[in-house]
């Protein structure tokens, strides 16, 4: 449906469009992070695109499955032309483990403000030029970014100190608490460790063919 948008993107940006595809009527373009801001401006202002409706911006962590590790995903829509398109860009961690960085789109669509704050909060992606990049959901004292795949699934960061003698477990004894969740978490750890040593199992713990 929105193929014309993909065509215009490819014509205008050429090499900077890494790939495009469409599935079930959803058109997607993967672009390099360098043109991220330019692509957004072009999509908003081009007379054949007119993407005036910002829908969503989020991120995905592909730890152990893809390099670069993160992908920032942007959804938008055109009220006039009824186009709908998704644009993604891969972003990498810095060489010394610095947070991944990508341009902010707040000056293109104001609505992107809180979405970028959420992506920063959950994935630790820094949006360059964001007017007020604070955590949105978690608290200031929180360390790390909880939706990153290497954030320990069992870890909590209490604001109030826990009372003495109370571990993170149910008051009814472990068997009645969270058996399913805990087993999966432990298995996860074992397999991540295994993957790092033998290189045979993938991130989900299955033997790779």
């Amino acid at each position: 449906m929105s193929k014309v948008v993909l065509k215009r993107l490819e014509k205008r940006f050429g090499e900077a469009i890494l790939s495009t595809h469409d599935q079930f009527g959803d058109e997607t373009a993967v672009v390099t992070p360098e043109v991220w801001h330019e692509v957004a401006l072009f999509l908003r202002d081009d007379s054949r695109c007119q993407m005036d409706h910002f829908i969503d911006l989020t991120a995905v962590d592909y730890l152990g499955r893809r390099t670069p590790r993160f992908e920032v995903v942007l959804h938008m829509r055109s009220m006039q032309k009824l186009h709908r398109i998704r644009v993604k860009t891969p972003v990498a961690m810095g060489p010394d483990g610095e947070n991944p960085k990508v341009d902010s789109l707040v000056d293109v669509w104001k609505g992107a403000n809180w979405f970028e704050r959420e992506a920063w909060d959950m994935f630790g992606i820094e949006f360059k030029g964001h007017p007020d990049l604070r955590r949105l959901l978690m608290y200031e004292e929180f360390e790390g970014h909880p939706l990153r795949k290497d954030y320990d699934a069992n870890k909590t960061q209490p604001l109030v100190e826990y009372r003495e003698g109370y571990e993170k477990q149910a008051p009814f004894g472990l068997p009645e608490g969270m058996p399913f969740g805990r087993q999966v978490h432990d298995r996860w750890k074992v397999h991540v460790a295994g993957r790092q040593t033998d290189g045979k199992t993938n991130i989900l713990g299955f033997e790779e063919d």
């Binding site: 699934a153 909590t156 209490p158 826990y162 009372r163 109370y166 149910a170 969270m178 805990r182 978490h185």
Partner: protein
């Protein structure tokens, strides 16, 4: 008054009773629980049912809500408490005047429930002491009433150890049949 610590002595024209002061206080407290509802999530719907005429908390003297913790004796923690909210819960608890009681309503308040993650307090007893846990997601109002009665027993006896409400089991059909049999002294026929 079936309480053993209170004895009614008859014989004179008016009669009189003897008791201990703490037993009398416990007896008075258990039927006048002013509650502060700290309602944060879906369990709140069940809490509303409990307060409504159908289940009628007023029968147990615990119906009066006080929306300031300073006037409340019983803190109902109803629903999920996130790490961000824990300081508020602690502050509410600290503001209550002694003697104060806490009832953890539902699995989330008791142990975090299935929210075993970075954002949720895994049970409010990590932050404040709890008297009675009512498991269930959400617990049935009957279960909560059991919890309330349990708390009243504990208040009457002065017992402050945490307690968990035991699950109720429905009688299975087999037992019903055997009950009827024993009552009539004769097996019930299949057709009957």
């Amino acid at each position: 008054m079936s309480d053993k610590s209170i004895q009614v002595i008859e014989g004179s024209e008016v009669g009189f009773a003897t008791t201990r002061v703490d037993a009398l206080l416990g007896w008075a407290r258990k039927y006048s629980l002013f509650q502060y509802p700290f309602v944060t999530a879906c369990c709140g719907m069940e809490f509303m049912a409990l307060a409504s005429p159908r289940f009628d908390m007023a029968r147990f003297g615990a119906e009066a809500p006080r929306f300031t913790p300073r006037q409340a004796d019983l803190l109902w923690v109803v629903g999920t408490v996130s790490q961000r909210q824990a300081p508020v819960l602690k502050m509410v608890y600290d503001q209550m005047a002694d003697p104060k009681y806490v009832l953890a309503f539902g699995t989330c308040a008791s142990c975090g429930g299935f929210y075993d993650n970075y954002a949720t307090v895994p049970g409010i007893d990590k932050v404040i002491p709890v008297d009675v846990y009512v498991p269930g997601c959400p617990p049935r109002p009957e279960g909560v009433i059991d919890g309330l009665l349990l708390l009243q027993d504990k208040i009457a006896t002065g017992d402050r150890t945490p307690a968990v409400v035991k699950p109720r089991t429905d009688p299975v059909p087999k037992d019903l049949v055997s009950l009827r049999r024993s009552a009539e002294g004769d097996p019930v026929s299949e057709a009957g």
